[in-house]
Symmetry: C2
Amino acid sequence: MATLSDRLSQVPPSPIRKLVPFAVAAKKQGVHVYHLNIGDPDIKTPNVMIDVLQKWDRNPISYDQSQGNPDFLSALASYYHAIGFSFIEESNIQVTTGGSEAISMALFAACNPGDEVVVFEPFYANYNCYAVVNGVTLVPITTVIDNGFHLPDRKTIEDKITDKTKAFLICNPNNPTGTVYTKEEIEMLVGIAKEKKLFILSDEVYREFVYDGKKQISLLSYLKDMPEQIIVLDSLSKRYSLCGARLGCLVTQNKGVLDGVLHIAQGRLSSGLIDQVMATKLTDVPQSYFDEVLTEYQERRNVLYEGLKSIPGISLPKPEGAFYTIAKLPVEDADDFAKWLLTDFRDNNETVMVAPAAGFFATKGAGKNEVRIAYVLNIPSLKRALELLKNALEAYKGKK
Amino acid sequence: MATLSDRLSQVPPSPIRKLVPFAVAAKKQGVHVYHLNIGDPDIKTPNVMIDVLQKWDRNPISYDQSQGNPDFLSALASYYHAIGFSFIEESNIQVTTGGSEAISMALFAACNPGDEVVVFEPFYANYNCYAVVNGVTLVPITTVIDNGFHLPDRKTIEDKITDKTKAFLICNPNNPTGTVYTKEEIEMLVGIAKEKKLFILSDEVYREFVYDGKKQISLLSYLKDMPEQIIVLDSLSKRYSLCGARLGCLVTQNKGVLDGVLHIAQGRLSSGLIDQVMATKLTDVPQSYFDEVLTEYQERRNVLYEGLKSIPGISLPKPEGAFYTIAKLPVEDADDFAKWLLTDFRDNNETVMVAPAAGFFATKGAGKNEVRIAYVLNIPSLKRALELLKNALEAYKGKK
């Protein structure tokens, strides 16, 4: 019998999705599952985009350009101009099939197999997947719940840099912690990257999801200073509630990166035509859409934070952005608890699904009693989900 | 300055797409370009699919399941049942974002970095891209125009198998040659794979595009015999004229492969929701659609074959399937000729675009005076494109 590659078994299951079969089984029993496990928002996609589908008149559904649909590239450039980066040109942008493809392309471009990328754990779990797929070693620097998962000092970071280090990979605002890095933190990283000649791969998918009147500091602000070393990874999934449209982009002024990833893009021919034509309408989405979404998420954040804090034994920092938080639970093994929620716990024939946090760490054993919670449900559902979590924790304690 | 990975520069440009900038420039000058370079058919997507868009009522556009949309998986299983493989279950299928992702996943699953995959050149050029992306070495066995690019004898093939060989990667019906392998050829490969414990990765994207009343021999016919060693790579792009929908799948009974590639699929979350919901209607496409398409392509094949044969100095075999052919041109450097067609040649303000064949070979220097021609234009356009090609060859000869 032919043998599989060793690396295939090293691709980790998604901690967000690995419990899905148990959720499916629960639903088959007629149980309602509140999903706090995945950042798949209930926010409506803008009507101007849905309209494109309903008025669709192109046939056949043909390939698009490998770099991206020309109108979509132009719309993306307009977006970056509108948020203050008027120097971004279409030629700086590679459209990707989801932010996922941008992550994978950036790791491939920056690293030879065996090279290292410094990440701050807990980090977006799918970085693990793309590290294995691209033969890259993620070197984790642990951030802690007590200071809201902000970055450690410069020395701690520099100590992790070796001859094999090629890049930092950051997510800001952060999934899964909800942390928004300060200007000082970003400038510290920029300073180290400059000195050590490293790339900064900056995942800014949640750029606009920042609360309490704060603003995210985009790495795009440093592009002029370090044009060759910054690669911004972006996605339309959250900004326009287009998770299922699989659209993102990679933005850089490094010509070598752009030329190389275009060849990879040619290999997969093009991103989806329908998704791109639909998303081209992003320039027509009114500001009120974003204002309402931000207000809604800030309220949800407040409900979640107050709700979780009031449950005995739970600790968490106040999330500053994105729509996730990492919470420490009064359990030994959050993986077991999360599975038990789906297989055993029922409250009025309902239960709740959370993502065990261990999968967001590269350090073995870290995050074992933590979960990631996505606050993507409307407020009544979120309140009920919190109530379920509280009741479940009591029942889980009782069963031991 | 941070340095790029060595491997990035090894990803080759697509021979199908690398001349696109010259085509764009020609079009900007108002020149009409006949595209024989890319298999992007003008055949209409079935109306039952376009209807799904026009009646779209789902909002938000949310993630789908990582393995695939459940209804789409069910439709794919029905398709395989209808073509005679009633034992294929949904659990044997991983939906992929285009056939491209299926190729990449299969190479990753079968090979560790540095492992070898035997291919028959000329082969689908994007295999080169995914070989580099996955750190796999393609070992080419050259097939020749004189016997219609059919396989060489068993000994020639076995001689290329080393300790590092993990798989055959075949495309049947073949892109770029139009060859349809005989039962004897397929059984020879199956025999070698069994003896040498190799995977067969069988790209069957053009399964139904077989002319003169012949039938393709699918590797699915050997699944029961070699359930662990066969991975079929498929795509909806050509069958339903859905190139821009980025949908394909990987079919196997090897549980290890399926579990592993599902983890990769989880990393990219899901394939496009809209594309999958639309394509679910594949079960409603009437047989008459396929019959008409096949008749049309067979006619085009005839027009192309007769037309090319009548041009002095061109030689080619009669294509048996798919919608491509490799033709030898009376030029020294087909790359230079293909570029010149776009930059210099004009006939009544029109020109024609072809794909230089060298990019479809792994052996350096092979295919230098050959081009791949896709017959995806309607017959009047195809006739005009052939006329242009004839006139261009005369003019090109004259300019020397």
